[in-house]
């Protein structure tokens, strides 16, 4: 009998509660990163874009529209252009050219004073709302005893203790709210802005949902057009390239914008940089398919944030297409999604990276030259917010004078093709619309004075 009690089976009967990890709830579905992204956008963009949000959301979740960038190096340029016009796709750059750029809107001298940008109050209230009741609340007395040398009467108990996740959450809210400050910047009219004649980007008209045929190769195996989001050619148009300009594309991969720069036929020297090997591989593939001899192009693999310190004041024009939330892309794929829980810190540090990249770009730019900053997100903090904080930083820490160029004339010229958001402070934002499903794309132009 006694021996029986000592058998291992009886040992197994020890109550196990609390020793085993609770079961995964099978009925509770794991939230996919794309769904998390959508929730994030609903939370932060809906109050910002208000009545526009349903139509933006609809467009973001639907099939995007493409533009065909004609490859001027191909032998079949003329036939490709004719084919595209036959199918109903017109060159939007040509349409924009017919709209005179000189007919600018009223000149606005100081941004902070005249442009009335009222951030919705909801955003402010959102933060308050998000400050959840504390999870752990310390009662007076219990823990105080351990701190022997403290004065009981002076000691103020901790009101809230946040877990690491909650801290991240708070930071996320902080990161995603853009507070415009009355920070006065010179807004100048860009006289150099002209649309390159050689650049041809064909798009279907509003409401036309026809898809492009895959591009064809010519006798030298160069493809006749490159399909890309037509809005991403706008930053290149904003660069205002002049013949024999030295151009730097700071985050070049996968090569859409670099190719657009080359297709203008104005650049003498293009330098492409990216810090990731695999992405550079994609850039090289694209260039191989479209450019006969890639000798004009210098490809660098440097950290973009430090490049400005190495190659100071070397370029006439700098294009910074920074890594961002890439709204549309994040809603479509779950692989490598920046909204997956493992990449939360990376996501939260995006704002800093963007700021550093922009600073680096400004350093790499010659005085009198210009920098175009672009993102493909709707997040105001990654668009106007980054420009604002960079300008503040430059003003406080350096002697560099920078003014913002007015891109309204360019936006007006392209308004037949794209839908622009009206309340941006420093740049222009293309917002997706179901009939013209391009973007989102933000671009702003800064001119370095000295």
């Amino acid at each position: 009998m006694f021996i029986r009690l000592l058998r291992p089976r009886s040992v197994l009967l020890i109550p196990k509660r609390g020793r085993v990890k609770t079961k995964w709830a099978t009925h509770k579905k794991q939230k996919l990163p794309s769904l998390l992204a959508l929730e994030h956008f609903d939370r932060f963009y809906a109050p910002m874009y208000d009545k526009l949000w349903p139509s933006i959301r609809l467009a973001l979740l639907s099939q995007q529209k493409y533009g065909a960038l004609i490859n001027n190096y191909s032998n079949n340029v003329d036939s490709a252009v004719l084919d595209l016009i036959d199918t109903g796709a017109d060159n939007f750059v040509q349409i924009a050219q017919s709209h005179k750029l000189s007919e600018a809107s009223d000149i606005v001298d100081k941004i902070g004073l005249k442009k009335d940008v009222s951030i919705p109050e909801i955003l402010e209230s959102l933060q308050k709302e998000k400050e959840k009741p504390p999870l752990v609340q310390h009662d007076d007395g219990h823990h105080v005893e351990t701190e022997l040398d403290s004065n009981l009467y002076e000691y103020m108990p901790v009101e809230t203790v946040y877990t690491e996740d909650e801290l991240l959450e708070l930071k996320e809210t902080e990161e995603n709210i853009f507070r415009p400050q009355d920070f006065s910047v010179d807004l100048i009219e860009d006289t150099s802005l002209s649309l390159p004649i050689q650049l041809k980007v064909h798009t279907f008209s509003r409401g036309n949902v026809t898809m492009f045929q895959p591009p064809k190769g010519d006798s030298h195996r160069l493809l006749d057009y490159y399909l890309l989001d037509a809005a991403s050619t706008l930053p290149v148009l904003a660069l205002g390239l002049q013949p024999r300009d030295k151009v730097l594309d700071l985050c070049a991969a996968p090569g859409g914008k670099a190719l657009t720069i080359l297709q203008t036929g104005l650049t003498d020297k293009l330098t492409c940089n990216d810090n990731s090997h695999s992405r550079l591989g994609r850039l090289k593939t694209v260039l191989n398919w479209y450019i006969p001899a890639a000798d004009k192009i210098t490809i660098l693999k440097k950290d973009g944030t430090k490049l400005g310190h190495i190659m100071t004041e070397m370029f006439d024009k700098v294009l910074v297409d920074v890594p961002c939330l890439t709204d549309r892309h994040m809603l479509q794929t779950d692989d490598n999604n920046i909204f997956s829980s493992g990449r939360k810190r990376e996501r939260l540090s995006l704002g800093d990276t963007q700021k550093q990249l922009l600073c680096s770009a400004i350093l790499a730019c010659k005085p009198g030259g210009s920098v175009v900053y672009s993102t493909c997100t709707l997040s105001p903090n990654q668009n106007d917010g980054v420009i604002q904080s960079t300008l503040e930083w430059l003003w406080e820490n350096t002697k560099i004078d920078v003014s913002v160029c007015n891109l309204k004339p360019l936006a007006d010229a392209c308004s037949k093709t794209f839908r622009f958001y009206e309340h941006c402070r420093y740049g222009q934002l293309v917002i997706p619309h179901i009939r013209a499903n391009f973007g989102p794309l933000y671009f702003a132009k800064l001119m370095r004075i000295n």
């Binding site: 349903p54 139509s55 639907s62 949902v209």
Partner: protein, 380 residues
């Protein structure tokens, strides 16, 4: 207006019928024990001469309409209806012709002229024949504008002989079709004018069998004459299938609302049902207040996707809660494109039309994708 009479009176009726000279070929004792004899409500069986309809239901569920009982008196009714001898028809003529006299000959000529403009060849019909047709339809209280459109657009009715036409009318009237229902049946059922009535009789039988009321059955067949091609077996099995999805009383209401339910592919019906239940997170009750099954699968998907992508429709959680107020199923599915876009989604109609095209493309691409995936897995 049908009633089921008791066993005892049923026996009495059949006895009386047996006693009469015509004799009724009922299923005899079986029919009596089942006690499901229906008869025209106004009619009293004692006055056997007046027009009556009898339906005797045998235990096997077969309903027979005893036409020969009726046919003895048809001639009388035919005359009274067509020539306007009866009291009812006289009144009718007074309302139609008394206040505003209609020259039927002139009207007939007008109709022929209109009809001929639709066809390249001349129609050999006499105005007097058409006048007779119009008159008989008018006597059956059909709407004059309905008659005009019927005769103008339907060549078969226009060119049919008066004899065939009268026969068809008598058949329809005798089975309880009234006013617009008559016009609708004449328009859609070409075989009626050729004297083929079997399909319709069978269909009415089957509809009664699934416990639809007489008026409802007639309404149903007149509203969607395609129903007449469904066999009895198919109809009962379809109703049984539908009872798996809805309550019995709801099934009948749904069938009356969308007769397509009876002959649409069941997999499609089930798909629509499941789509609404699982993707929209509603139960059967709200479905009852929409014409869900009249719409195509694509329509249902497009409307729902449009709202969901715009963030205007949310799948309720387990407790049925949402953070926004969802529009009703009626607003989502039964509204016209422009009303839906502007009132429900609050966007321009052009946006919705573009989305429709875009979504069709997306679906095509998805199908191609799944096809190629399938063929790949087949290869393996």
């Amino acid at each position: 207006m049908l009633k089921v009479i008791r066993k005892a009176s049923c026996r009495a009726i059949v006895n009386r019928l047996h006693a009469s000279r015509e004799g009724v070929n009922t299923a005899g004792g079986c029919a009596l024990s089942h006690a499901n004899i229906c008869c025209g409500s106004v009619t009293q069986f004692n006055k056997y001469q007046s027009p009556i309809r009898h339906f005797v239901v045998s235990p096997q569920g077969h309903i027979t309409l005893h036409e020969h009982v009726y046919s003895k008196h048809t001639s009388f009714r035919l005359v009274s209806e067509i020539r306007g001898n009866g009291n009812k028809t006289k009144g009718c003529e007074q309302t139609k012709g008394g206040d505003k006299f209609i020259d039927l000959e002139l009207l007939a000529k007008d109709i022929i002229k209109h009809a001929e403009s639709n066809y390249t060849y001349p129609l050999h019909v006499s105005a007097s024949d058409i006048a007779v047709k119009i008159e008989s339809l008018l006597n059956l209280q059909c709407d004059l504008s309905d008659i005009k459109t019927l005769l103008t657009i339907n060549q078969t009715v226009l060119t049919a002989t008066n004899n065939a036409f009268t026969k068809a009318l008598v058949f329809l009237d005798k089975h309880g079709f009234r006013q617009q229902n008559i016009v609708s049946m004449l328009h859609h059922c070409d075989e009626l004018l050729a004297g083929q009535t079997k399909l319709i009789i069978q269909c009415l039988d089957s509809l009664r069998q699934i416990t639809l009321k007489e008026k409802e059955a007639i309404q149903l067949i007149a509203s969607d004459p395609n129903v007449r091609h469904i066999t009895h077996k198919d109809m009962t099995s379809r109703v049984a299938q539908l009872k798996g999805l809805f309550k019995t009383s709801h099934v009948l209401r749904l069938i009356l609302k969308s007769p397509k339910l009876l002959y649409d592919d069941f997999s499609e019906v089930a798909y629509k049902f499941q789509y609404v239940i699982f993707k929209l997170g509603v139960d059967q009750k709200p479905i009852m207040s929409t014409k869900l099954f009249d719409h195509s699968v694509m329509h249902i998907k497009t409307r729902h996707e449009f709202l969901e992508r715009a963030g205007l429709y949310q799948l309720p959680n387990k407790k049925g809660e949402t953070t926004i107020e969802n529009p009703s199923l009626y607003q989502i599915f039964d509204t016209s494109d422009s009303v839906f876009a502007q009132k429900v989604a609050k966007m321009p109609t052009a946006d919705y039309m573009t989305f429709k095209k875009l979504y069709e493309l997306e679906e095509e691409m998805r199908e191609e994708q799944s096809d190629s995936d399938q063929s790949e897995s087949d290869d393996e």
